[in-house]
């Protein structure tokens, strides 16, 4: 029966929203994380990169943020500045 699997079309799995927290160093490397390991690390690294750059751009504009929270329709991203790196919390918002 496994023979039939050879003809099955590959179908990407639907991506769940990330949930949990992670700490990133000033280089954007993830140091610790409680986010499910099934969630792609590359996307988390890109999130970390955007967060660090948001802090850096704010410093350039003399706003020097210690914390921010982005409200998306289905996800909240909270980031706290930590010695050049950041602690990032990702929490899905459930509107229903």
């Amino acid at each position: 029966m496994g023979l039939l699997n050879l003809f099955a079309k590959p179908r990407p799995a639907l991506q769940r929203l990330p949930s949990g927290s992670m700490t990133v160093d000033r280089e954007g490397q993830i140091v610790t994380s409680t986010i499910s390991s099934s969630y792609p690390v590359e996307i988390l690294e890109e999130v970390a990169d955007e967060v660090l750059r948001l802090f850096a751009e704010a410093r350039k504009a003399h706003l020097s943020l210690s914390e921010f929270r982005i409200h998306f329709a289905s996800l909240h991203v909270t980031a706290r500045e930590a010695r050049g790196g950041a602690i990032i919390f990702l929490s899905p918002a459930v509107p229903l």
Binding site: K9, R16, R53, L54, E57, A61, L63, F68
Partner: protein, 342 residues
């Protein structure tokens, strides 16, 4: 095969819609680009581009298109994400004849919404016209008027304007404020004969005064130079900032060549750089994690609390003192910006 089956079922709807199918998200997008459609029905699990990605693009590129998700994925998270993306209907693939019938009925109702006949409101009439009509017909009613997050009420008793209330103001001041809103929605509530009278002027006198005041705000006064008119607007906006208790506001057009404006701060150009960057960054983030559109960013440092929010064709940054209540500043910022846009 399933697509053909659904096509056959859907073509039996009473409105006899023309059904076209696509086996991938990319092809569906190409079809939407080629000609106008009324409804898009889409699965969540699809090859290459999943349903959520398709919906995110569709919402942005074809905001008028009605969207329906029909899927076998039974998961509340995906349901709420689909609704967060603005879909009109989320339906699990029907497993019984009864479910299929219900789905078809919902779809028919959705199709009917944009070609309903009959009267659906008074789009070309201003609030002034509506109030005059109500007063002329000697009616007694309460108008509840909303513009975004701003809410106001106007009480009419036997054709007389007796009271108004809006955002902490009452009487004539509230009436003038409500009349200043350029658009919005209204509903009529049952009359309240016991309502205390705070307005004694006739409706016509008040409407005339308000129209005159609005003209003065939007157009330069006689003999006033454009610089003087701008100065007057700036003073008015600064007064609004002080009244609300915020520190400063910066707005920047979404086009990079637009000039930022600041009230209560001299650093609008510096802040505008971060605002533009943040606007782009959150849009990139939204696409990466498929989190839907962003409503605002709340940020803080030792000196102040900030709210960054998108408004019509521009982004606004509102700064509040550190003691301001965090849970309230988003709503307050939204109200402030809405009142400016009015």
């Amino acid at each position: 095969m399933f697509l053909e089956l659904y096509k056959e079922w859907l073509s039996q709807l009473p409105s006899k819609p023309e059904i076209q199918t696509s086996t991938s998200g990319a092809r569906a997008m190409a079809m939407l680009e080629a000609e106008p459609y009324r409804v898009l029905i889409c699965d969540l699990k699809m090859p290459k581009m999943d349903g959520l990605q398709v919906l995110a693009i569709v919402r942005r590129r074809f905001p008028e298109l009605r969207t329906v998700v029909m899927t076998g994925v039974q998961d509340e998270e995906f349901r709420s994400r689909a609704y967060a993306l603005g879909v009109d209907l989320f339906w699990l693939k029907p497993d019984t004849q009864q479910n299929m019938q219900m789905f078809l009925e919902c779809l028919e109702s959705l199709l009917g919404r944009d070609n309903e006949s009959g009267f659906r409101g008074i789009q070309s009439k201003s609030l002034m016209d509506i109030l005059q009509m109500e007063c002329l017909s000697q009616s007694s009613t309460v108008f509840r008027i909303t513009r975004g997050s701003l809410v106001g009420k106007i009480w009419i008793l036997n054709g007389d304007l007796i009271d108004a209330e809006s955002e902490g103001a009452r009487g004539e001041a509230a009436f003038r404020r409500i009349l200043g809103w350029k658009s919005g929605t209204f509903e009529t509530l049952p009359c309240e004969p016991e309502r205390e009278r705070t307005i004694t002027k006739s409706i016509n006198a008040l409407l005339l005064e308000t129209a005159q005041a609005m003209d003065e705000v939007s157009n330069p006064l006689e003999g006033e130079t454009p610089e003087e008119a701008n100065h007057r607007k700036t003073v008015w906006r600064l007064a609004a900032i002080t009244r609300e208790g915020c520190e400063w506001v910066v707005t920047t057009p979404n086009e990079t060549e637009g000039t930022p404006e600041g009230w209560g701060t001299q650093s609008e150009n510096e802040f505008a750089g971060w605002m533009r960057y943040a606007n782009e960054a959150v849009q990139r983030l939204s696409e990466k994690v498929e989190a839907g559109p962003w409503s605002h960013i709340r940020a803080q440092n030792l000196e102040r609390k900030l709210v960054l929010l998108p408004s019509k064709n521009k982004t606004c940054l509102v700064a509040w003192p550190p003691a301001a209540e965090t849970s309230a500043i988003f709503e307050k910022s939204k109200k402030l910006i809405t009142s400016w846009d009015s």
